[in-house]
């Protein structure tokens, strides 16, 4: 047996060094200091930078949660449905029930999971393109249903207002005006960071467990996975559950941050597009890929938005097309192959 093989065998017994978990800790520490750092560097401009940073975190949650389902080989076009379900859950709670604002976030996740399990159990046998079209149709039906629900219940076309989670108070003489906005954005930033850390942990646990092998097997060929004992139905529904739970909570948080829910906005196809373009750009079926994709695309989007006020979505389309044509394995996949080749070359 060759030396590296023996080494990796020994490593398998001890367990490899947990780089991934270390990464989460580093990510959390960076996130903890980001608001103060931004404020130190940009002063009052940090208000908008914080907001941009929150958007990047939000995109990362969206993308990573989508990827967790994609790992089973099911590229869903229903992510907007789970996002919207979360958003509308918290909005409806605020409107019709006298409960703490925060409750809408976990419940948003729960309702999203309920819809995901419904969709999942209907689409168990659909593969590839058929699955994609069916999930898109499901999301659009849900949008229509919300749209046409009685107006005094769900607000119809005009949607509903959702109160902010945070309302820092301006204290004259002790702070400047912009600091109120800073405090609000800082609070949201921490919520997004916390949600992202939770999503990343879930993703890492998946990747470290034997479920990773089950998902890879299903993605390659569900029949083969089946005769090897992988209970595809269970794994798929679990992936649907995890995937929708996080995006449902994200939808709820964003409803509070934006201040309203609307059928067209909360169930927007654009949400689905972002959810799938980001991991494809960053690298599918990994924890790192969607996060790299989210930070990469957020930066690109900011640059585009500053250059062209309108039509920056064109940029997303271009990124998607170029990625499929030239980098079908995404940033992380392409770099991974590159380094692996180099290492192999060095061994020889």
């Amino acid at each position: 047996m060759s030396a590296p093989a023996a080494a990796s065998r020994a490593e398998a017994r001890r367990g490899p060094f947990p780089w991934d978990l270390l990464g989460v800790v580093v990510l959390a520490i960076i996130a903890a200091f980001t608001p103060d750092l931004l404020r130190f560097v940009f002063d009052r401009a940090s208000v908008s930078y914080l907001s941009i940073a929150s958007n990047a975190l939000s995109l990362a949650i969206l993308a990573l949660s989508w990827d967790m389902l994609a790992r089973t080989g099911n590229l869903s076009l229903a992510h907007a449905a789970f996002y919207g379900a979360g958003a509308y859950t918290t909005a409806l709670l605020v409107k019709h029930a006298d409960v703490p604002l925060w409750l809408g976030i976990p419940l948003g996740g729960v309702v999203a999971v309920a819809f995901a399990l419904l969709l999942g159990s209907f689409t168990l046998r659909l593969r590839g393109i058929y699955f994609a079209i069916a999930t898109l149709a499901f999301a659009e039906v849900l949008k229509s249903v919300v749209h046409h629900a009685p107006t005094d219940f769900a607000g119809g076309n005009a949607g509903m207002n959702v109160p902010a989670l945070f309302r820092p108070v301006f204290i004259a003489g002790e702070m400047e005006r912009w600091e109120v906005a800073y405090m609000r954005n800082e609070a949201y930033f921490y919520v997004y960071a916390g949600l992202l850390v939770a999503t990343v942990l879930a993703s890492i646990l998946l990747q470290r467990s034997r479920l990773r092998h089950a998902m890879t097997a299903m993605r390659t060929n569900e029949e083969v996975a089946g005769v090897m004992g992988v209970r595809a139905t269970r794994v798929k529904l679990l992936a649907f559950t995890l995937s929708s739970a996080f995006v449902g909570m994200l939808g709820a948080v964003e409803a509070h941050r934006v201040g309203s829910v609307l059928p067209e906005q909360s169930f927007s196809v654009a949400t689905t597009v972002l959810a799938l373009v980001t991991p494809i750009f960053g690298g599918l079926y990994t924890t790192l890929g969607p996060i790299v994709g989210a930070f990469g695309l957020s930066s690109v989007q900011e640059l585009l938005r500053r250059t062209f006020a309108d039509g920056y979505l064109i940029g997303y389309g271009v990124v998607l097309v170029l990625t499929i044509l030239f980098m079908p394995r995404g940033v992380v996949g392409t770099l991974g192959t590159f380094f692996r080749r180099r290492r192999k070359g060095a061994q020889r």
């Binding site: 079209i133 069916a134 149709a137 659009e140 039906v141 196809v269 494809i280 389309g317 499929i324």
Partner: protein, 288 residues
Amino acid sequence: MDLNLLAQALVSGILAAGLYALVSVGLALAIGVIGIVNFAHGEFFMIGAFLAYQLFVSFGIDPVWSLLLVAPALGLIGALIYTSTIRFVLKAPELNQMLLTFGIGIILTNMALLIWGGDPRTIAGIAYRSIGYQVGGVSIGLVPLASFVISFTLVLGLYWMLARTPIGRAMRAVAQNRTGAALVGLEVNRVYLVAFALSAALAGIGGVMIAVIQSPTPGVGLAFTLKAFAIVVVAGLGNIRGVLFASLFVAISESLVATLVPNGDTLRNAVFFAIIFAVLVWRSRRVA
């Protein structure tokens, strides 16, 4: 129930089916012959509509004449898109193809939004739009009738072409067996190019008609992509001949719901999606 209303709904459904068939048959051509699930198909339709609008606004060209200009223009755009992108993913996984065309769709929609904005655009002041006929209590507009006749003729023309002409036979040969077709000397790539251009041109013609029938926004592209998918899915993916019947089924269902269900007009889209979802799920359960 008001029988007149029912008859009106049926007639409206049948008339709408022509346009739906025209757009869907192009999508079925792309799927059946090239094997490309084209999520940007409705955008060709949308571009056709806005080209007709622009030709009218800028040069005062009547949409009837635009038909002759827009069809080759869209054929050219289709050929360009095929040559610059689609060609390279013919052997890639199905989902990559889908995502590529999805990306192309996003680019085209947002370019249209940039150029024409998000508001509905109307081709104003065409005399023939208000012409209509009364047949036994059912009113039939000249424009929907003409669009039905043109669409129907074109779809039948396509069927004829597939059955009788050399290029049509080549398309069917390629659709049935790619490697086999290559072996007997068909230039598969050229057949694909023609099929894709034709598919885009048919959608473009449909777009010109919608510009007269409605006041479209750039969002009409995605809407018609999805309508076309509903029809193609009902017909069976890639089944070109089934499209005509599937169009009738889907269009009449839509029209009945819009007419007979209170407030149903706004539910049109839901009908399509519900049909797509139900048919896909039902088929998947039946097969195994």
